[in-house]
Symmetry: none
Subunit: 204 residues, 4 copies
DNA sequence: CTATAAGCGAGACGGTACGTCGCGTCTTGTA
DNA sequence: TACAAGACGCGACGTACCGTCTCGCTTATAG
């Protein structure tokens, strides 16, 4: 029914795709999403603009693809098995793995993707689906186990607990505009845990 | 010493300034900072582009001026006297005043300003100086008093306490992309207060 | 070697080109080159400014292209065969064809092109190459034949003879700012011919 | 009746006027009328734009004032007394004085004024009145005397004779874009004189 | 001998146009 | 039919001048 036929993914050239993603990620690292252009990515990748528009709806989508693709690989390794039994230790490890080990020096790329997402609902949805939801799911699972163990108060919504923790990191990234080191991550977890822990034997 | 002389603020036309700020705020409300242009603001305000460039370095600066100006006026009224003595009540009132009463329906404007600030350090600095720092100072003061009263644990850095609270709201605005109602603000405060209150037998 | 690659003329859109030239010529006729703008040509032709800048270096070049293109067509018809054998008749016919029949009512366009050429050496060169040189060559050839026939003094440089004739017309156009009719062209030729004809007993 | 009162010439500041004219002439010499701006003249002269607009209608008028003022002074000296009795010698001297001695190295300034005059009828009129008419009058007078002496054919209109001569120089300046040296001036006069002289005793 | 009306410097202002960049769509030629 | 290349209509960029205006300051008649 549509006049403009959808492209056939089977005929997509993998080398071309790789060149575009690499160029996009390099440029995002160097100067951030806002200062990039599709035109620039095409030139750097040695690719026609048409080819980019064929496979991605916006520059944000290209960069998200490039950046989240890299990230997903690294995350899978790291979040394999943090089963210590000690919730505090596990939590801190997970946050460090995610926020320092994985995002690490691409934090400004991430910030610029979130910025772009403020006026690009599709990008926002994609970001949540591909990155935030999966990461949240893992932590949520661990929190639920901690509640079963009695290490986290049972009346707390795990989703809200995650927000209490992660929101601090996003605040530092997006509002304070400051870098995040290990000490800060520790502090973030400690402050959140004050509120998450059960109120002692009397409170139980 | 500078070749391009700075314009003399005394010769600035107040009507023109008002027209620009009004146009900018209207447009920001309607479609967000990202879809605006200096060209558009100038046209809507019935003003030469040059006049805008003379007094503001970027469209972000114009919108911040327009938006924060309006806000500051409203905030002064609201944050006059929240002295209940009950920290929880005071805190909730302050947050509601700030986040619902003041930012309120301009939340998307605020989100787009923060987005813009990700690649505009001057705008980020201005935003922190004009809006975040003053608001933070007021809350910080109230927390300190609560610590003196024994309503908040003495070993907590008030600045970090503020982050623990506000970060949740920013997260919802920028990352979750969801609106904030009174119930959510209550929940935000309750969750944070769990961790802020003094522990141990005395607190029970 | 050049960083900004030259555009490929093969990919030039003939319709677009025609629309630009037509708009440019119309506007030049209506109000003269000085009051035109690239912006205006683009708007009238329904074309992006970039497209004009891609193919022409300046508005003068566009108008010259449009005007001289039209002219060349008209001139080819007219200067087909003025072989009367009578130099005076031939000369007068050539001048009338060129200055009245061809330039005719576009004399102000021509004047404004020459004006523009005063501060645009490239335009001046192009004007001489495309219009003045070819026209001069034809007349020069006829003068040479007249010298062989003994109708023009042999010791006169044909190029200077042309200047003696045409300069009067350019003077009237550019300095006196007056129109040129047939009677004036006759007078121009007569006055010049006084000096060009062979002197002495043979010529009497 | 008019709302905007005419300025009072008696209160005009001579230093200011001089500064403007000097700046204008310098700039015209350096880069030509076309590349100048009222704004630029004002800045260079250390003068408000208003002051220029008060006394001159256009930048062309300013430059003409500056250039022709200088020239008039120089011309008066030179054209004092060329009464040799020999018309050819007198004519050549007059042309050399005017075209080389007086216009000389400001020939490009003159060319740019004529260019400007193509789309500024007031400037054109002023130019003819202040410069061309007076110079023409002097030469015309001399030609008339030569006709009385029998050195120039009596049936020639002196005005047309002047055009025959000067047009060649204007052509070289405006159309050919070439400099004029003494040899060329000689040639111009020689070529014109061929046609101006009486046709020998038989023709009388 | 003062006051009041210029001239003047400075430059803000609403505009128009500049020449450039990037958008997203398109067409052309190659593999 | 995917792709490199890039022309195209379009909208916006940030800058230069336009010609008009308003502001204080100074100068120089006219009451």
């Amino acid at each position: 029914m549509s006049t403009t036929r959808a492209p056939d993914p089977a005929r997509r050239n993998p080398q071309t795709t790789a060149a575009i993603l690499e160029a996009a990620l390099d440029m995002a690292r160097e100067s951030g999403l806002a200062k990039m252009s599709i035109e620039g990515i095409a030139a750097r990748a040695g690719v026609g603009k048409r080819t980019i528009y064929r496979w991605w709806p916006s520059k944000g989508a290209v960069v998200l693809d490039a950046w989240a693709g890299e990230l997903a690989a690294r995350l899978h390794e790291r979040l394999a098995a943090p089963h210590t039994g000690d919730f505090e230790a596990d939590l801190k490890l997970m946050i460090k793995d995610a926020w320092i080990g994985t995002i690490g020096e691409t934090r400004e790329v991430y910030a610029s993707i979130i910025a772009e997402a403020q006026h690009d609902p599709e990008l926002a949805a994609e970001l949540r689906k591909r990155l935030i939801a999966p990461a949240t799911a893992l932590v949520s699972e661990r929190i639920r186990r901690a509640q079963a163990d009695g290490q986290v108060a049972a009346d707390i919504d795990p989703q809200r607990a995650i927000e209490l923790i992660y929101a601090q990191l996003y605040y530092r990234l997006l509002v304070a505009g400051l870098p995040t080191d290990e000490a800060y991550v520790e502090d973030v977890a400690d402050l959140a845990l004050r509120g998450l822990r059960p109120r002692g034997p009397a409170g139980a």
